[in-house]
């Protein structure tokens, strides 16, 4: 049944920009403040207030446009999108409809099906809305306008994707580009990146696209994947039953693993867009575009090449570290503090990745100080602690950002090389493991490893493995 149909997907991606102040006023954009403490007459929509465009918003939008191969619109302006809703205090949202800042771009993705260009239809700038909280007890709703006027860009793709794999690959690449530009942290779970999926299906071979639905409330790549699989199947089942697809907006419920209709587009709101008279038009010169290009931060490919060249780490390492922007920040800081690049890389690719996966954490949530990682590496290099202990201490650093030198001292974790003490332990282990000693003498190399393991265990992992091996061989 599935193989008889083609799936067509286009995306609308909202990204909150990393400016310090809002798009049209001098209020802070900092997350998590007390309700309405970041508001002023402009962002609560008082009559007579005058919005003025934050230049940084425009520059971030241009930077994202240039990095996604868009044409920059030389004469751009804002429009009003009219609708009544309490989270929108002016009763209109200042957005761009007729002359968006960027148009006609693309992002190239690579999947097992090969390379593919995903078209960017446009990127426009707009303001975010406030937050509505519903109170069951009083039966009222309450509004916090701290988020009202936080700058957004909306990236609208062409309907060029045909599977959830392509969608996630595209989004991961887009997110990385924006993170490298430092235009946003793009956290799906905190809403600084929001993805709406437009999806339709058609019988294979048909040229005309089917009726599409728009899916909202997708807070993770996993949710996006599940929602796409679910929605494609829902539409195909309806068509198989001879039913029609409704043009509508649906909301994904990730707990239930299903979506439900929010409102039909047929009685869609009439937004009555018209030119925004308060914001002056924007004229962009060649010099300005060149300046934005010149100031563009190092993107992933450049960084990867530089890591290989400057720090002599393998391509494999450079590839993994640069796949997460936050990882590159930690890596560069640690190297700057004197950490050996390859050793820092090993901790990031190995233990750090393992712990992230184990705890279901995002790399952005890493909170340890690079200086503590550098100190740990030094403790191993100087022979103060052995590898086993280092692994244990690193987990402490990862969890609580402890200072390793003091920690090792306090918990008595220093590597033990005292031969007379080790000799006693070795004699005990030999006495208790006659069979293994015998096996070793009969040529079973593996038995030696077992005996060393037993000795390490007896010394709570603190023994110097080189000394242990030397003494053990002398004893056998």
């Amino acid at each position: 049944m599935l193989s008889k149909y083609d799936v067509t997907i286009g995306l609308e991606v909202h990204v909150e920009l990393a400016t310090k102040s809002k798009i049209f006023c001098g209020c802070s954009t900092a997350f998590g403040a007390k309700p309405n403490t970041h508001t002023c007459p402009v962002c609560i929509g008082m009559p007579g207030s005058l919005p003025v465009l934050n230049k940084k918003v425009l520059e971030y939008a241009m930077a994202v446009g240039l990095a996604t191969n868009c044409d920059i619109t030389r004469f751009s302006k804002f429009d009003r999108k009219n609708y009544f809703y309490p989270d929108n205090p002016q009763n209109y949202q200042i957005s761009q409809l007729y002359m968006p800042i960027c148009r006609n771009g693309f992002v190239e993705i690579n999947t097992c099906a090969g390379n593919k260009k995903i078209g960017i239809h446009e990127i426009h700038m707009e303001e975010d809305a406030g937050k509505l909280i519903h109170d069951e007890i009083t039966g009222n709703s309450y509004v916090d306008y701290n988020r009202s006027g936080v700058p957004l860009i909306e990236i609208v793709t062409e309907p060029d994707m045909s599977s959830e794999v392509e969608v996630v690959t595209f989004l991961e690449k887009l997110r990385l580009i924006i993170q490298y530009l430092e235009a946003s942290d793009c956290k799906l779970n905190e809403g600084s990146m929001r993805v709406d999926v437009n999806l339709s299906v058609k019988k294979r071979g048909e040229t005309e696209l089917g009726t599409r639905t728009e899916m909202k409330n997708l807070n993770s790549f996993k949710a996006i994947t599940r929602a796409i699989e679910n929605e494609a199947l829902r539409q195909i089942k309806l068509l198989e039953k001879g039913e029609k697809i409704q043009l509508e907006t649906r909301r994904w419920d990730d707990v239930k693993g299903e979506s439900y209709s929010m409102r039909s587009k047929e009685d869609a709101r009439d937004y009555r867009y018209f030119p925004e008279p308060d914001i002056m038009p924007i004229v962009i010169s060649n010099e300005w575009i060149n300046d934005i290009k010149y100031k563009q931060p190092e993107l992933r490919d450049e960084k990867m090449q530089r890591y290989i060249r400057e720090y002599s780490i393998p391509k494999y390492d450079a590839d993994i570290i640069t796949s997460i922007k936050h990882m590159t920040v930690i890596f560069e800081k640690a190297v700057e503090l004197g950490g050996n690049p390859k050793k820092v890389s090993n901790y990031l690719m190995g233990e750090t990745m393992r712990l992230l996966k184990e705890r279901n954490m995002e790399a952005e949530d890493i909170s340890f100080s690079p200086v503590n990682l550098v100190k740990l590496i030094k403790l191993v290099d100087e022979g103060v602690i052995n590898g086993t202990t280092a692994k244990e201490v690193f987990e402490k650093i990862f969890n609580e950002d402890i200072e390793p030198i003091e920690y090792v001292e306090k918990n008595n974790l220093k590597m033990q090389s005292d031969e007379s003490w080790l000799q006693t332990v070795i004699e005990q282990v030999i006495a208790a493991n006659n069979q293994s000693v015998c096996d070793y003498k009969n040529g079973k190399e593996r038995a030696l490893g077992f005996l060393i393991g037993q000795i390490m265990k007896e010394t709570k992992g603190k023994a110097n493995p080189a000394v242990v091996k030397k003494l053990l061989l002398e004893n056998l």
Binding site: L58, L132, H134, G139, M280
Partner: protein, 97 residues
Amino acid sequence: MKKRISNETIEYIGILSKLELDETEKEQAVSDIEMMLDFFDKMSELDTEDVAPMSHPMANNNVFREDVVTNGDMREDMLKNAPMVLDGMFGVPKTFG
């Protein structure tokens, strides 16, 4: 004066504007809008062959502010006009997204 605004249109404009209009008000609104449309017709008589389309009423462009936080906590003032206040938030009738 031509009659161009139907009853349905004025009802729809009322809904979009969140206004409840009685019959007299509807009639008044229809005649006001018809007058505006007549005025547009009058303007359409002008020869604009050589006039470039205007997309904004002001001649200025590139008016920006720098990305600097200049406002502090003005919550008390901002809430002065709120119809209802709870925990520093604006209270409104029950609304669902």
